[in-house]
């Protein structure tokens, strides 16, 4: 009754049963059948993430009453009707599930359980997705294909068991290549093409042994880190499909396409080893491996030293009971016990000291390498999303690594060594009594799993309540002014909090008693009672020497607590490993290629040339195409066009925010044109200045903020820049003038911060300036001051303006009109206005708005 046991276990873990009724049966291919079910209790509006599956309980065709459990992927669940489909592969000889499906007709019912819908969560931004499986995996693969980003490259490798299998429809994906291979355990593994799979993500679901072999091949032959392979065994030979043997299907093997590997790219000959970003985390900790191992060993020793005094005291008791009275015989035991105890405390403190010293060095090096990394990333990398990644890495993950280095290893080692040594020692004293120490643990597990019934559902519900309460609290606090104005009483928040409290009451109150029962089972009094009762019985029945009870009384009562700490000890370690991986990913981000960046600029005026530039973040999704644009020295060029046309992306290229994927951006000096990728990074940053709308001030004095781009600037120079940027007087009005610190005693308004950043740019004095026109209108109260400051900054520089209001740039030397990543028109305002085209349309639309 294995299935019965499985079912009970799943229920104990929170699975619930649902009865589903067949609505319709559709044969997509002769051996691939889709059945639509009505399952209103299961598809009830709860979240059904991509590639979620349920457990189907298929009746045994021979033994009535016996059921077999199979996993099936949800297809087209519809919460409004409570309907869902499942796809069945009908192979011969049929397993219980396919046998049931082959005979299914509308009106039939079958039971399904779900534990928790699992989520398909690939790591962020892999290079591509490699999906592998057999017909049983096709529903899941179809679901995954449906949610993968359309521009991502995808390779699907499918194994056909039957000739007709290749006719099973596969969901469309613009970047997907689909390969079919034949039957056989090793066929999938053999079919993986040889190419550079660096940073690809792999997903596999098929027969158990096939998956095992596939995983091994991906790891050894193709370099995939095991952590980057998501794999599931959907069935097993001889089990899932019942007595299925290769020899049963000679025809299948002949008719299906050969399983020969289809190379997509030529075999890379001794090319660079493929790399995965996720490996960065392991390397991060690799340097500490031996230190942490030594720390673990030392902690093991300390744990033993902490237990030894108890053993010695037990021995003392034994001698006392034996009638030993001489102080000379007893005192060494006491002194050793106390001495060992003290030595363990000292060693433990020493270990802590050592690990903290190691951590201080490790953390310091880690932070410096993160800083160094940040300085090498392309400027375009610094988006809001990546700012969150930096925050995560430096604020949270660094702290988790601190725990990992200083505490995790000793905690885990102590948690394992202590109970194992205790129980081993006690087994040598009296195996019978030692065995009984597991009774409270069994009672705990029984009580605990009884308590955890249905808890998975409750946890989801609790998470929902918490989310609601959090959202309501945020909304309430943030909207307090409005709430007050409309005489609100915070009803929404009150309802949410009451709901949360009510839910906790309904859920936890009946559980509180059970929970305490399970905990009392493993607390010292329970062990004390067990040891004395069982000990009395064994002593009275002559099975044990009375003195043998002592070690149990000394060491056995804390056994339950020790076992529990092992169970909880691993969570922080896992978190720390994930943290290390995230930091590793950050440290592995692609850097700006600086191998050629060594040239300086000749003196003199500078222009700028975009030479058939194209750019894309991802293959097949061009952002900019065939951009040819020349900015003669000292001229003003404006980029206009609808939002999303690529204006800002283009404007960032001269600063190497990103490197072009085609063509080149060149600086035009008096007698040479230089590709910006050949310039020293600092030289380029000095040549091209940027003034954007979102100003970034640092927490330092106003003087330092202005001099940020030229730390050596003198105070008169700084003041001159501030004057020209119309911010000098405002700075003098701050409590400590130029020494006032941003965020402390200098609180600048938006327009003031903007003028400060313009002063910064004036001081840096770049010959080429890239400007966002919206800067001039960002703060209505000080527009004119910002505009004056901008006027001073523009001066005789070569200027590229990203413009939103056309009339602001109508005097530009050249206006480039952009649409969908291309320049569609260019010329002076008057010329463009006289021609039909996008510019005239935009201008007229703007005029209408003004009117």
């Amino acid at each position: 009754m294995a299935a019965g046991f499985q079912k009970t276990m799943m229920k104990a873990l929170g699975a619930t049963d649902h009865v589903m009724t067949v609505l319709s049966v559709t044969d997509i291919t002769p051996a691939f059948r889709r059945i639509r079910f009505s399952a209103p209790t299961m598809i009830d509006g709860r979240e059904t993430p991509t590639a979620s599956y349920i457990r189907l309980w298929a009746p045994d065709p021979v033994e009535p009453g016996k059921v077999h459990q199979r996993g099936y992927t949800l297809v087209e669940p519809d919460a409004s009707t409570g309907e869902v489909s499942f796809d069945f592969v009908l192979h011969r000889p049929m397993g219980p599930a396919s046998g049931w499906a082959a005979a299914a007709k509308p009106g039939d019912t079958i039971t399904a359980s779900y534990y928790m819908f699992h989520k398909f969560e690939p790591p962020e931004n892999p290079e591509g997705y490699l999906l592998m499986g057999d017909p049983a995996a096709i529903p899941a693969i179809n679901a995954i294909l449906g949610v993968l980003p359309p521009e991502a490259p995808v390779v699907v490798i499918l194994q056909a068991h039957l000739p007709g299998d290749a006719a099973i429809p596969i969901a469309g994906h613009p970047g997907a290549e689909v390969l079919w291979t034949g039957p056989g355990t090793g066929a999938l593994a053999a079919a993986v093409p040889v190419r550079d799979w660096s940073n690809w993500y792999a997903w596999a679901a098929a027969e158990k042994d096939a998956v095992k072999e596939l995983r091994a091949t991906l790891n050894r032959a193709h370099g995939f880190p095991l952590a980057d392979i998501k794999h599931t065994a959907y069935w097993m030979h001889g089990k899932a499909m019942r007595l299925r043997k290769q020899s049963n299907q000679p025809g299948a093997a002949e008719e299906t396409p050969a399983a020969a590997p289809v190379p997509i790219a030529a075999r890379a000959e001794a090319g660079p080893r493929p790399r995965w970003r996720s490996q960065g985390g392991q390397e991060l900790l690799a340097g500490l491996r031996w230190t942490l191992r030594a720390a673990g060993l030392l902690q093991g020793l300390i744990s033993l030293m902490q237990l030894a005094p108890l053993v010695l005291l037990a021995e003392l008791g034994r001698r006392l009971l034996a009638g030993e009275k001489s102080w000379e015989a007893l005192s060494p035991l006491i002194l050793w016990a106390v001495g060992l105890y003290g030595a363990a405390a000292m060693l433990s403190a020493g270990l802590m000291l050592w690990l903290h010293a190691v951590d201080a060095r490790f953390g310091h090096a880690l932070r410096l390498s993160m800083v160094a990394k940040l300085a090498r990333l392309p400027l375009g990398w610094f988006t809001d999303r990546n700012a969150a990644a930096v925050h995560q890495a430096v604020q949270e993950d660094a702290g988790r690594l601190h725990y990992m280095v200083t505490h995790a290893v000793p905690d885990v080692v102590a948690g394992i060594v202590t109970p194992i040594s205790v129980i081993t020692y006690l087994f040598t004293v009296d195996a019978g009594l030692a065995g009984m120490l597991f009774l409270p643990l069994i009672a705990f597990v029984a009580l605990f799993s009884h308590m955890m019934r249905g808890v998975a559902d409750k946890l989801v519900e609790f998470a929902n309540w918490t989310k609601r309460a959090n959202a309501a609290a945020s909304a309430f606090v943030e909207a307090l002014p409005v709430v007050r104005v409309f005489g609100g009483d915070g009803r929404g928040l009150r309802t949410a909090l009451e709901g949360q409290a009510g839910f906790l009451n309904g859920w936890q109150r009946p559980m509180a008693g059970r929970k305490v029962a399970s905990q009392l089972a493993i607390q010292p009094p329970a062990f004390l009672l067990l040891i004395t009762a069982a000990g009395c019985w064994r002593i009275l029945s002559g099975g044990m020497a009375p003195a043998d009870l002592l070690p149990f009384l000394f060491l056995g009562t804390a056994f339950g607590a020790q076992i529990m700490s092992v169970m909880y000890g691993f969570v922080p370690v896992r978190e720390a490993r994930q943290a290390a991986q995230r930091i590793g990913v950050l440290l592995e981000e692609a850097e700006l290629d600086r191998r050629r960046s060594s040239r300086e600029l000749p003196p003199g005026p500078l222009g700028l040339r975009f030479d058939s530039v194209s750019f894309s973040y991802k293959p097949r999704k061009p952002v900019l195409q065939d951009i040819d644009l020349v900015l003669q020295p000292g001229t003003l060029t404006a980029l206009v066009g609808p939002s999303g046309a690529g204006k800002s992306t283009l404007a960032g290229l001269p600063g190497r925010f990103h490197d072009v994927t085609g063509g080149a951006v060149r600086l035009m000096a008096v007698d040479a044109e230089i590709d910006i990728r050949e310039l020293k990074p600092q030289t380029l940053q000095r040549a091209v200045g940027f003034v954007f709308q979102d100003v970034k001030l640092i927490k330092a004095s106003l003087r330092e903020n202005i001099a940020l781009a030229r730390p050596g600037a003198t105070l008169p120079e700084i003041e001159a820049a501030a004057r020209a940027a119309q911010i000098h007087e405002r700075i003098l009005a701050a409590p400590r003038g130029y020494d006032s610190v941003v965020g402390e005693d200098a609180r600048l308004s938006g327009g003031e911060a903007q003028r400060l950043s313009i002063a910064r740019a004036l001081l840096a004095d770049p010959p080429i300036l890239v400007l966002d026109e919206a800067t001039a209108f960002a703060d209505p109260e000080s527009e004119h001051l910002v505009q004056q400051a901008l006027g001073a900054l523009i001066g005789r520089r070569t200027v590229l303006v990203v413009a939103h209001r056309l009339h602001t740039v109508m005097h530009a030397d050249c206006i480039a009109v952009m649409e969908a990543g291309r320049i569609v028109q260019r010329g002076r305002h008057e010329d463009l206005l006289n021609r039909p085209g996008l510019y005239r349309d935009l201008w007229q639309a703007g005029e209408r708005k003004q009117a």
């Binding site: 909304a475 104005v485 009094p525 607590a561």
Partner: protein
């Protein structure tokens, strides 16, 4: 006590029986440990069967202890639940009475954390932690007292050791906490500097400052390393203090036992039994040491929650004032926040039925003036009068009934647009609601979102800033109060938004309007101008008069007019 303060008054008396029962439970645990002395004494004697009655007694005390502890946890659950429900209510009530000025970004986060995080944590602690921790606290003295009857010298030694042990535990915990707080602060500083470094890459690279050495970032990272090492000199005595105290206690007690044994005061079997009892005195301390971080965190949650209840609430009058004609008047009003003077000597009047625009540079205190009318803050000196009465003389409802308010930053609550507008006047008819929405240009948003009931997202996230202000204007139009306070948005201004503001001004045309105005058209709409600069009223009067006078407003007006037509022009750009 902090536990008492957390509980509602009606639940406080229930703490006494709970505490008494905890003591009983500790005594039961102590009894089961002490029963080992006669039990082992008999078991190791020539007639071990005599131990059986003692075994029965031990079993009885353990089972009684279980029953009682289970009961205690359920009592603790009740107390925790009473705490949670009453605390939720008290917090919401109190936050509604705290002056809005108290809420900075930091305090907003604090309030949110208390509501959604701290209270559930306190509840969970009261269920999972409170009973076990208090029994562990009561157990060592209980065993010590019991020992006085069994072997008084040992009992005395234990009694002396208990305060030492608790003291060491507390000291160790304190030192650790301090070190960790220092370390966390240094880490946070280093992290904040690193984030700043990431944000400022564009500028820093131009300066060639791509390293950390010699910069504030480098200093912060070095400081973090120093703190990481310094933490040791606190951690070390912290851990050592506790383990040394435990060790000294163990040594002292075993010595006492040895002396008693040497003098023949106790037999070997009882000596051994007493060693077990001594170990049981130490056990709860180890448990407490393990629970310490959780207890600390609970204590912190309790403090944070109570800190919010300690914020002084706004005063409420004994009797509600009766509003007269809908006018607004400032009489020498002054207001400070965080020790900084925001407004000083503000005096002006908005007669009933007129429109006054507050104009001035950003940061001059314009929005604060509006918030004083709505009593989101209270003035420090002078008074603000609405409807002929000091705003502090009204009950909150009476004051708000006179005001329709459009703030600059508008938060919507989750729900549909219609719901969000209707909050202004829940009993308004469907027609009125649609009319107000149409006048404010909200129907266009409704069309975009797909219906009046379509969700606006958390905090109105599905809407742009300008759109949110339009919803807010629709609210004001629907509320139809005698006085309109409007804070015009500075950013995200589009033509539709401008039309909505105009609609509001027209809709309230015959009523009293006080508006913080940025756009020239809005300013032109006002009967009178109040020009504010650096927290002072610099000029007041009719727009034409002020322009003719050539003062600060005239400058402002001219600058704004010029700025509107600004063009980037190399020919005229200064050098």
């Amino acid at each position: 006590m902090i536990v008492q303060a957390l509980l509602p008054p009606e639940a406080r008396p229930r703490l006494v029986p709970y505490a008494l029962l905890v003591i009983v439970a500790a005594c039961l645990r102590a009894t089961s440990a002490l029963l080992l002395v006669p039990l082992l004494g008999e078991l190791f004697s020539p007639q071990p069967r005599a131990a059986l009655p003692w075994l029965v007694a031990l079993a009885a005390s353990v089972v009684a202890g279980w029953t009682l502890e289970r009961h205690l946890v359920i009592r603790a659950f009740d107390l925790g639940f009473a705490m949670m429900t009453s605390m939720n209510r008290r917090l919401v009530d109190h936050l509604l009475a705290v002056p809005i000025g108290w809420f900075g970004a930091e305090r907003q986060a604090q309030a949110k954390k208390a509501l959604a995080g701290a209270v559930p944590e306190l509840f969970a602690s009261s269920v999972n932690l409170m009973t076990q921790a208090s029994i562990c606290l009561a157990l060592p003295p209980a065993v010590a007292l019991g020992l006085l009857f069994v072997a008084w010298p040992l009992g005395l030694a234990t009694l002396l050791a208990v305060p030492l042990l608790f003291g060491a535990l507390l000291l160790g915990g304190r030192l650790m906490r301090r070190a960790e707080a220092d370390y966390a602060a240094a880490s946070e500083e280093a992290a904040a500097r690193t984030e700043e470094f990431a944000r400022s890459q564009l500028v820093l690279r131009a300066a060639g400052r791509t390293g950390a050495a010699g910069t504030p970032l480098g200093e912060a990272i070095d400081a973090q390393r120093r703190n990481g090492l310094r933490i040791l000199w606190f951690t070390l005595p912290g851990t050592l203090a506790f383990s040394l105290a435990m060790q000294a206690t163990l040594l002292a007690m075993v010595t006492v036992l040895a002396l008693m044994f040497a003098e023949g005061a106790i037999d070997p079997a009882r000596t051994v039994a007493l060693i077990v009892v001594v170990l049981r005195v130490l056990e709860p301390l180890n448990t407490l040491a393990e629970l310490f971080p959780a207890l600390e965190s609970t204590h912190g949650a309790a403090r944070r929650t109570l800190a919010i209840l300690d914020v002084p609430a706004q005063s409420k009058p004994e009797r509600d004032a009766r509003p007269e004609a809908p006018a607004v008047e400032f009489r020498n009003a002054g207001f400070s926040a965080n020790g900084q003077r925001i407004l000083d000597g503000i005096s002006f009047a908005v007669p009933a039925g007129t429109t006054t625009a507050i104009v001035g540079p950003s940061g001059s205190g314009k929005s604060t003036i509006l918030s004083l009318v709505a009593r989101l803050h209270d003035v420090d000196v002078g008074e603000v009068r609405v409807g002929g009465q000091d705003v502090r003389g009204y009950l909150p409802g009476t004051l708000m009934d006179q005001l329709a308010i459009v703030f600059q930053t508008v938060q919507l609550f989750e729900g549909g647009i219609a719901e969000n507008i209707r909050i202004a006047r829940p009993r308004a008819g469907e027609e009125e609601l649609r009319a107000a929405a149409a006048a404010a240009g909200v129907d266009e948003i409704v069309a975009r979102l797909g219906g009046w009931g379509a969700p606006v997202g958390e905090g109105g996230g599905a809407l742009s800033g300008g759109e949110r202000q339009r919803v807010s204007i629709a609210r004001a139009l629907l509320k139809d109060a005698p006085i309109l306070l409007l804070d015009e948005a500075t950013s995200g201004l589009d033509t539709l938004n401008e039309a909505a503001v105009a609609a509001a001004l027209n809709g309230f045309g015959q009523r009293t309007v006080l508006i913080v105005a940025h756009r020239l058209e809005t300013i032109a709409h006002a009967d009178r101008i109040v020009f504010v600069e650096n927290g002072h009223v610099v000029e007041t009067g009719m727009r034409e008069t002020l322009i003719a006078n050539g003062g600060r407003f005239a400058d402002y007006w001219r600058h704004r007019r010029d700025a509107q037509g600004w063009q980037i022009d190399k020919a005229t750009a200064s050098l």
